[in-house]
């Protein structure tokens, strides 16, 4: 006799989330893939073009530029945000007075709207009235055009993005740091290990699951960067220096109404993120100490 009881309550709890994921994630992925084989401007019926959109993509210099810019953003912003967050988390892990206030301050940018943050940073970077150039002037350094300069535009966006996301990673690292047993540090201190030796032999290896999680999430996020680019360099930056892949996709879809082509880009982006995440899972995860 089968005495297993079906827990309908569990299905009830699952239903809203599964429904949302199916409707707004799974179905659009397949629909997007289908549309990428068509030419479609929304106004007229989609025209079947087979693999033409993908062939066009292979010959599109702006697609390669956007790919390069995306990798540039990812290669700089991911390590920077990991090390900055780890540093701040280690500082905030000390028993100092007013620690709650510091933790709140670091977390504030995370809960602030990216649009509001971007407007504030636009002021900071303004060539004539911006805070950054005013500070540089105090050190007798001439003004820079920042977001209007093809060389500086991307570093400016990266700096703002790292600052904006710092608090989130700090919280995760803090949790990771607090999970490391205190007795390991006590034993190391008794054995005469210095602070840097303790970091290398205890903190860094035992923090690796946290670092791995932060790395994977930051890498995925960096491939999807969009809002700050749109808000701070609305045309993709001077000489397209901040034209990242999602922004290019957006322009093709919602400015030029080439939905088929835009969705071909989206599918390539999906494959890229999938590939990077798979690499992280199969290769990098081997270097993670889970206990």
């Amino acid at each position: 006799m089968n005495d297993k009881k079906v827990d309908w309550g569990a299905y009830g709890y699952l239903f809203p989330v599964v429904g949302i994921i199916l409707c707004f994630h799974v179905l659009p992925i397949f629909y997007s893939l289908a549309i990428s084989f068509y030419e479609w401007d929304l106004m007229s019926d989609p025209q079947w073009v087979g693999l033409d959109n993908f062939r066009r993509l292979a010959d599109d210099p702006m697609f390669y530029k956007s790919l390069w810019n995306t990798f540039y953003y990812a290669m700089v912003s991911v390590p920077l945000s990991i090390f900055a967050a780890l540093g701040v988390a280690m500082l905030l892990n000390n028993p100092i007075s007013g620690i709650g206030i510091y933790r709140t301050i670091y977390f504030l940018p995370v809960i602030t709207s990216i649009n509001a943050v971007a407007i504030v940073w636009n002021f900071i970077y303004h060539p004539d009235y911006g805070l950054l150039n005013k500070l540089l002037a105090l050190a007798d350094i001439g003004p820079r055009l920042w977001l209007q300069d093809p060389f500086w535009a991307m570093p400016c966006i990266i700096l703002m993005s790292v600052w904006k996301g710092l608090g989130y990673n700090v919280v995760i690292f803090l949790a990771g740091l607090q999970n490391i047993p205190k007795y390991l540090y006590e034993a190391a201190t008794i054995d005469g290990a210095s602070r840097s030796q303790q970091f290398r032999s205890i903190t860094w290896p035992l923090l690796s699951p946290t670092t791995f999680f932060v790395f994977v999430m930051s890498a995925i996020g960096s491939f999807q960067v969009f809002s700050q680019i749109y808000m701070m360099t609305p045309r993709g930056g001077p000489m397209k220096s901040t034209m990242v892949i999602v922004f290019y996709l957006y322009q093709k879809a919602f400015v030029k109404f080439e939905f088929g082509y835009a969705l071909a880009i989206a599918f390539v982006l999906f494959l890229m993120i999938f590939g990077v995440t798979l690499f992280n899972k199969l290769y990098l995860e081997k270097k993670v100490h889970y206990s």
Binding site: Y13, D41, L42, M43, S44, D128, L147, Q148, D149, P150, R235, P238, M239, K240, F254, V255, K256, F257
Partner: protein, 452 residues
């Protein structure tokens, strides 16, 4: 009561997950009720005491924000009060860009508005997709010859293959703003703004030099404009007797002398240090803060800048070259064919009313957009306003030599491309030919593949 309260406590203690779920659902319901209540309040405000009753509702999507939106809302309310058959519901979409996207999405979703402001490129697509009503068909039942009263360039702008498919609505022209106080200080006649590009450069040189500090730094720059400004580049191209594109031959003319002159004139001024190019509206802010003495901008910017200007300023026609040609900007009105003739009638009644002689004059004076009808320019309202504010007049002088941009479906793609090249030229400041030759080739590439 006490029993019920104890029951709730028991639920929380024994089944906390279920209690949490119930709590979330309750919170959700409260939020929905509050949103519905707020929407009802907003709807009541838009009705301004008008009973919808048997009126036909006409939905109007527009992109008029800030002070322009205030005038728009005011006029919509007046139309709704002045008649009892229709109720126009104005929906501000924030920007033209958003409006464009929403129009396309609404067509896919089969929920298009009844009227909307659109650029010519979208109008062309809407004609092709048979989504809009031909204005000529609506004019056919009119007793008044409305077409004869429309400003000719606006009429041409809205006519496609000999038929009027859209109705002129909010068109603007570029003008020169200049700081009369700085002119006086620099010994220039404040009633004699520069008339041509040579004079513009010479005035800018004089002003920049006059306000130069002991350390050589210019406290005031003579002239300011937007970085890679396509609109004024096209104006200058026509002023140097240039052409934009040949829609039939699929040819563009940006790799020719007039285009090189049009681009070179600004690059040279920037290189000399007598002009600055700002991002977005930076040059507008520079003018308000008296950092630059003259700027070129849309006449509509006057409405946005005026409150922040603390000095005596003048508005003049855009300085010309071989000709004084200028290019119009702004949108027109499309009436959608949503299958309800009564809505189409209501939409047409509203458009007629809004662009009529007196209302058109009022709209024009309050927003600085060009009125649609010639009779508006001669109306008492308009003439009185011009007496009060002489800065209102200059845009209308330019109507005799106003042109409009090509109405190709791919024109915005071409514009986008031009913006990239003009920006590159502005950053590198190399010889104009370096950018224009490649720009022209790529534009011709787009034209070749374009369907019209």
């Amino acid at each position: 009561m006490l029993k019920r309260f104890l029951g709730l406590r028991m639920l929380i203690r024994e089944q906390p997950e279920s209690a949490f779920l119930v709590g979330v659902i309750l919170l959700w319901l409260v939020t929905i009720v509050e949103i519905m209540h707020d929407d009802a309040d907003k709807r009541a405000a838009a009705m301004s005491g008008i009973e919808l009753g048997t009126r036909t509702e006409v939905v109007f999507w527009h992109a008029m924000g800030g002070p322009l939106g205030v005038v728009m809302d005011d006029l919509i309310v007046r139309f709704n009060k002045e008649q009892s058959k229709y109720f126009v519901r104005g929906v501000g979409m924030g920007s033209y860009d958003t409006l464009d996207k929403k129009i396309l999405a609404s067509i896919v979703a089969k929920s298009a508005p009844d009227i909307s402001q659109n650029y010519e490129t979208l109008t062309k697509k809407l004609i092709k997709a048979k989504k809009i009503v031909c204005i000529d068909d609506l004019l056919a039942s009119e007793t008044e010859d409305i077409k004869a009263d429309i400003i000719p360039v606006l009429l041409r702008n809205n006519t496609y293959n000999g038929r009027l498919w859209s109705f002129p609505f909010n068109k603007s022209v570029p003008v020169l703003y200049y700081n009369k106080d700085l002119f006086r200080k620099a010994g220039l006649d404040p009633e004699m703004p520069p008339r041509n590009l040579d004079q513009l450069a010479s005035y800018a040189r004089h002003i920049t030099g006059f306000f130069r500090k002991g350390n050589g730094e210019a406290a005031v720059i003579g002239f300011g404009t937007g970085k890679g400004n396509i609109w004024t580049f096209l104006c200058r191209l026509l002023q140097f007797n240039g052409k934009m594109v040949d829609e039939i031959e699929k040819k563009s003319f940006f790799d020719e002398e007039p285009a090189r002159k049009a681009l070179g004139v600004i690059l040279d001024m920037v290189e000399e240090g007598i002009a600055v190019e700002g991002q977005g509206f930076d040059h507008q802010n520079d003018f308000k803060s008296q950092r630059v003495a003259m700027i070129e901008n849309s006449i509509v910017s006057k409405v946005f800048m005026e409150a922040g200007i603390k000095f005596d300023f003048g508005v003049a026609p855009l300085p010309g070259a071989a000709t004084n040609a200028i290019v119009l900007s702004g949108t027109n009105i499309n009436i959608f064919n949503n299958g309800n003739p009564e809505k189409v009638k209501g939409a047409w009644e509203f458009v007629k009313w809004f662009t009529s002689t007196d209302i058109g004059a009022e709209w024009s004076v309050r927003t600085t957009y060009i009125p649609v009808r010639r009779s508006s320019l001669k109306s008492r309202f308009f003439l009185d306003a011009m007496k009060k504010d002489p800065n209102i007049a200059p845009p209308y002088v330019q109507l005799d030599y106003a042109y409009f941009e090509p109405r190709l479906s791919c024109w915005f793609e071409i514009r986008d491309l031009m913006a990239d090249f003009l920006e590159e030229a502005s950053i590198e400041r190399g010889p104009p030919g370096k950018y224009l030759t490649k720009m022209n080739q790529e534009i011709e590439g787009i034209l070749r593949h374009a369907t019209d």
